[in-house]
């Protein structure tokens, strides 16, 4: 593929670049995703790769912090840090030593809607690795000393967070946007709620949520479908088939606009801002995604970056992003600026939001965004664990096994008219609500 050294006009540059990139972006289409189903019906998506004797597994249950009972926030998180603190007849140290000896890495992470696990193992230890997942999920010990130790650890993190402006700003945002709703509650819990959790709560969380009807799995690496089918049963076969459905109610965020200030003695204010977003499967989602990229998702080339950082040096970090939750949707962002000038940053975000709502992006901005988003897509396929995580993410969103091949075409199809229409309908400058933590002058 020939590259032009001299390019006449920005539109031509992007057109040529877009064409030239097709070759590479087609490579992501070449990643073959197969479905493997075990004898007991556990299904996983598999990308085989025998170039390295390793296996990356990602899995998730549709159950996160939003399923914590009121008053016991942090339950999902405490569960997650306890799953490798003893299982079956191995107490914490024995369990951890066994994993370390075999270089098996098993970790868990909790969000609002998802309880995720990742496993990384050498091929030669994969049988034991999958057995270990099974043990952790079906027979966690929750020994009293381990529970107290992990509770103390989460409490320690909590104490630290409560003096971090960014954490305080986010807390203010979420609790304000979802009052009385699970999304408004802190996934990491509070001092009080962490203290209220007992072993019965932990067991109940596992029993209610670790079920096969709630589970998505992605596997990448050195394993064949036949081998994987056997391994899936080792890990997940003895989970209960069905759980207790605990749907989180749908909720539109309560974001009436304006600025909320939380005074905190620190030299730099953090402002978190947000408005309602779009659900992941909304027909306009891709247009919104591109729109956000242009506004504040595009790293060094976004509007917010240009206006706030490049032109005025007002911030090191400023960005925006879409966040489609399971039962709600947001468009969020943040900027951090010294107290004396943060009002300026807030004003510029406001102004840019309104300008984009009115005018939408330019043709050049749209072309550049599409070029970047399609051209950089293959970069996501550069490690097994990233691909495994994507496989699980796709299943959570119901996006289909052929997504990798379809995705760039969908981005390309978004027109200028689409993005401008979505800018007008989605962006609500009057509802964009700011939560500022610090000592902001003039706010």
């Amino acid at each position: 593929m020939t590259l032009l050294q001299r390019i006449a006009g920005p539109a031509a540059a992007f057109a040529v670049a877009a064409l030239a990139l097709f070759a590479a972006s087609a490579a992501s289409a070449a990643v073959e995703v197969r479905e493997v189903v075990s004898r007991s019906g556990v299904a996983a998506w598999l990308v085989e790769d025998h170039s390295n004797p390793v296996l990356s597994v990602s899995f998730g249950f549709r159950a996160g912090g939003s399923r914590d009972p009121a008053g016991k926030e942090g339950l999902a998180e405490l569960t997650s840090v306890l799953l490798d603190e003893g299982a079956g007849n191995m107490t914490a140290l024995a369990f951890q030593k066994k994993l370390e000896k075999l270089s098996i890495r098993l970790e868990f992470e909790v969000g609002r809607d998802q309880f995720r696990g990742t496993l990384r193992t050498l091929s030669r230890n994969r049988d034991t690795a999958f057995e270990t997942i099974g043990l952790a999920l079906t027979e966690p010990r929750f020994d009293a000393d381990a529970v107290e130790r992990m509770r103390a650890s989460l409490l320690s993190s909590y104490l630290r967070k409560t003096r971090q402006p960014r954490y305080l700003a986010r807390r203010a945002f979420w609790s304000s946007a979802y009052p009385g709703h699970p999304y408004g509650r802190p996934v990491s819990g509070t001092e009080k709620s962490l203290g209220a959790i007992d072993r019965a709560d932990l067991r109940r969380f596992v029993a209610d949520n670790f079920t096969r009807d709630n589970l998505f799995i992605g596997v990448v690496g050195d394993v064949t479908p036949a081998q994987l089918a056997v391994l899936l049963d080792k890990a997940f076969g003895s989970l209960p088939a069905k759980g207790k459905p605990q749907p989180v109610p749908a909720s539109a965020p309560k974001l009436p606009g304006g600025i909320v200030v939380e005074r905190f003695d620190t030299p730099q204010s953090v402002a978190v801002f947000g408005q309602p977003g779009l659900p992941r499967r909304h027909p306009d989602y891709y247009a919104a995604y591109i729109l956000n990229h242009i506004m504040g998702g595009g790293g060094f080339t976004s509007r917010l970056y240009r206006e706030i950082r490049e032109k005025r040096g007002l911030a090191y970090s400023v960005y925006s992003y879409l966040w489609p939750l399971r039962r709600s949707a947001l468009m969020l962002g943040a900027v951090a600026t010294q107290n004396a000038r943060v009002a300026e940053s807030v004003g510029i975000v406001r102004a840019e939001w309104a300008r984009m709502a009115r005018e939408g992006p330019s043709a050049e901005e749209l072309a550049a965004a599409k070029t970047y988003l399609t051209g950089s897509y293959p970069l996501r396929f550069s490690s097994s664990s990233r691909i495994a995580d994507m496989l699980v993410g796709l299943q959570f969103e119901g996006l289909g096994r052929d997504y990798f091949a379809r995705r760039n075409g969908t981005i390309e199809k978004v027109s200028l008219a689409d993005v401008r229409r979505v800018a007008r309908s989605l962006l609500k400058p009057d509802q964009l609500t700011f939560f500022v933590v610090g000592k902001p002058a003039g706010l």
Binding site: L93, S153, I259
Partner: protein, 478 residues
Amino acid sequence: MFGRRIGRRLLRPGQALAAIALIGGTIAAGAAVAAEKPGREGLFNAETFTLKNGLRGVVIVNRRAPVALHMLWYRAGAIDEPAGKSGIAHFLEHLLFKGTKTLKSGEFSKIVAANGGQENAFTSWDYTGYYQFVAKDRLPRMMEIEADRMTNLVLSENDVVQERSVILEERRSRIEGRPSSILWEQARRALYLNHGYGRPILGWMHEMERLSRQDALDFYKRYYGPGNAVLVVAGDVDAAEVRRLAEKYYGPVPRMEPPPRRQLAEPPQRAERRVIYRDPRVRRPSFSRMYLAPGYNSDGAEHAYALQVLARLLGASSTSLLYQSLVVRQKLATAAGSDYSATRRGPSSFYLYALPKPGVSMDRLEQAVDAELAKILKNGVPEEDVEAAKQQLRDMAIFARDSVRTGATAIATALMTGRTVADVEAWPARIGAVTVDRVNAAARHVLQRRKSVTALLLPQQPAGANPAGAKKAEVRKQ
């Protein structure tokens, strides 16, 4: 999901140590692979070349995905800064994204984005690195623009004023807004009595505020050139083709002799230091201790591999000695750990930390840490812990091969710090050769209080008051 960082990234101490620990660890798998397939060559199978103008090139083939990681690192970091100009290396890193003789300010990043590339840069004490991650057929364009800014940078006064404001916000964000960072910065200066490792990479605020366009250009002219740089390309590439492209794009850059270095050496350390920082924003106190330690290139370098094993078994995970003793058995701490890296141009540090449980005094915790260290110095470390640590370190490398980035970073860091590709490849074997006696000798060499700083992060006195507590929020319509 949230907390995405954009903008030029600074390699902070924690990150550097973690990255380097991983780098060191990557080699481990080589031994495991070799054991499975006798006669197989090394871990990354890097090919090297040197251009006539002095630029060293490294190519690592990894055909996992049709992508290429293009990295250009300069052997210029915070320790190379002139006195009074702390932060200039990092500032220059930001300024490299402004204009050149042929590109307008900001156009570099537009070109990378237009080629579907992800990019960033980072500054450490020993080096500054720039990289782009692109589809493999975009590599030539990235080389072209990277080679251009090696010597063709053009800076306006406006560029400097605006970006200086950005780095001050960065400092406020990373340091001024975080009590633990403030402590760390003060403690590090106390650990290195003389060496440049004691200065903050971002720079001291009062010096950052006065960094000028001329300062940046002076540092640029002195250190940015092919003789002081390493090019590393990793991914779905061919070594011969990369060399050809390097000749084409980097070859024409005029030869430049790397400037002589005069690093300030550490004098003998005779007095133990304590650094205590109280801040109303501290709700969670912490204890840490740093010992001056040898790196690969300093006095005592014979201990470097043993120290990596020691750091691993002492506090790298929840099965480690410190964690098991302080957190599990004695229940004095909620967390405890240790860290060490040998990959430095000069001396290094051996770092320990512990977070006291509420109700446990700092004195009590410190006594417990010292008792644990005294035990190790008296009785030695358990041999099985040594073997387990060695095996964990070695096994990390097979996993490292799975990511395009890790091997490239390991090799680049090695070359920046006076090591070779062969050293990187030999790492698993050298770790494998560490004995329990060597670990004990390394511990005796490093764990000496006179060569240490104890750093305490404490709430503001008096205890009980909550002057920094957030007040009730006010709503205002704008």
